[in-house]
Subunit: 131 residues, 2 copies
DNA sequence: CGGTATCCAAAAAGATACTG
DNA sequence: CAGTATCTTTTTGGATACCG
């Protein structure tokens, strides 16, 4: 039987799957949204809650979120000039489906770790030349 | 009021948020799982359904999914030697929460694109020195 | 067929210094 | 305070070639 009759559906790199992961699958985006979820905050206010993030990366992350309409940036005139970032309804709505993923992770994280340990242990003894 | 009394909760890079995104937030993982969801397949069978993926990257993706226990690899002895990959219950269960994210994307993708266009257009006229 | 080994390019991230 | 500008390192992915 020729395989021409077989289905060969194609997934491509522009799958909707990618659309959102490309935007919020990076290291900090979801944490920035989580921080802003409680209340609007200024640049360094956000930065203080994200241990290890650099100014540069936070700026990039905020720009990307702003570009997607998930965050708005507002300049505060005053003697100590400031900028306030707040989450938009769109950004807030993203957290519902994301919470499902978060809960899944909490539920299965132990299982995953066990698989990883098992896999890493086997790698020592299998298909590993004795050197 | 001193800000010492203020809460400064800390999100760190090892947030559970990262646990799963680090594993499946890459370019192809979710699409590989989607392909295997229908039925077990061999290496090149998977590859044929993923337009643009290279052998090297598919191998890496499968190893990572296998390490996490989301996919199992089985060697098929025979005259044309082969390897069959199949999705595990764990991998299958991940698709439920992920579907929520997928649906969210489909629902809001137009809004996001409009924000992006608007943002990109404004960038031409604002805070842009005339050169 | 199902990979591994290399080499290379591009993108993301970290460190640091400087500015309105 | 809220960035920008550079430079360097790390990570990721693509292109090839070769192997059991």
């Amino acid at each position: 039987m020729p395989r021409d009759t077989e289905d060969e559906p194609i997934y491509r790199a522009d799958c909707p799957t990618r659309t959102i992961l490309d935007q919020i699958g990076d290291k900090w985006s979801m944490m920035v949204l989580a921080v802003l979820r409680a209340s609007p905050k200024r640049f360094n206010g956000i930065k203080r809650q994200l241990e290890g993030i650099t100014q540069r990366v936070l700026t990039q992350t905020l720009r990307k979120l702003e570009r997607n309409g998930m965050v708005v940036r507002r300049v505060i005139g005053g003697s100590p000039p400031g900028v306030e970032y707040s989450i938009t309804p769109l950004g807030r709505s993203l957290q519902e489906p994301f919470a499902a993923l978060y809960d899944w992770t909490l539920e299965h994280i132990d299982t995953i770790h066990k698989h990883q340990e098992s896999y890493d242990r086997d790698a020592q003894t299998t298909t590993r030349r004795p050197d």
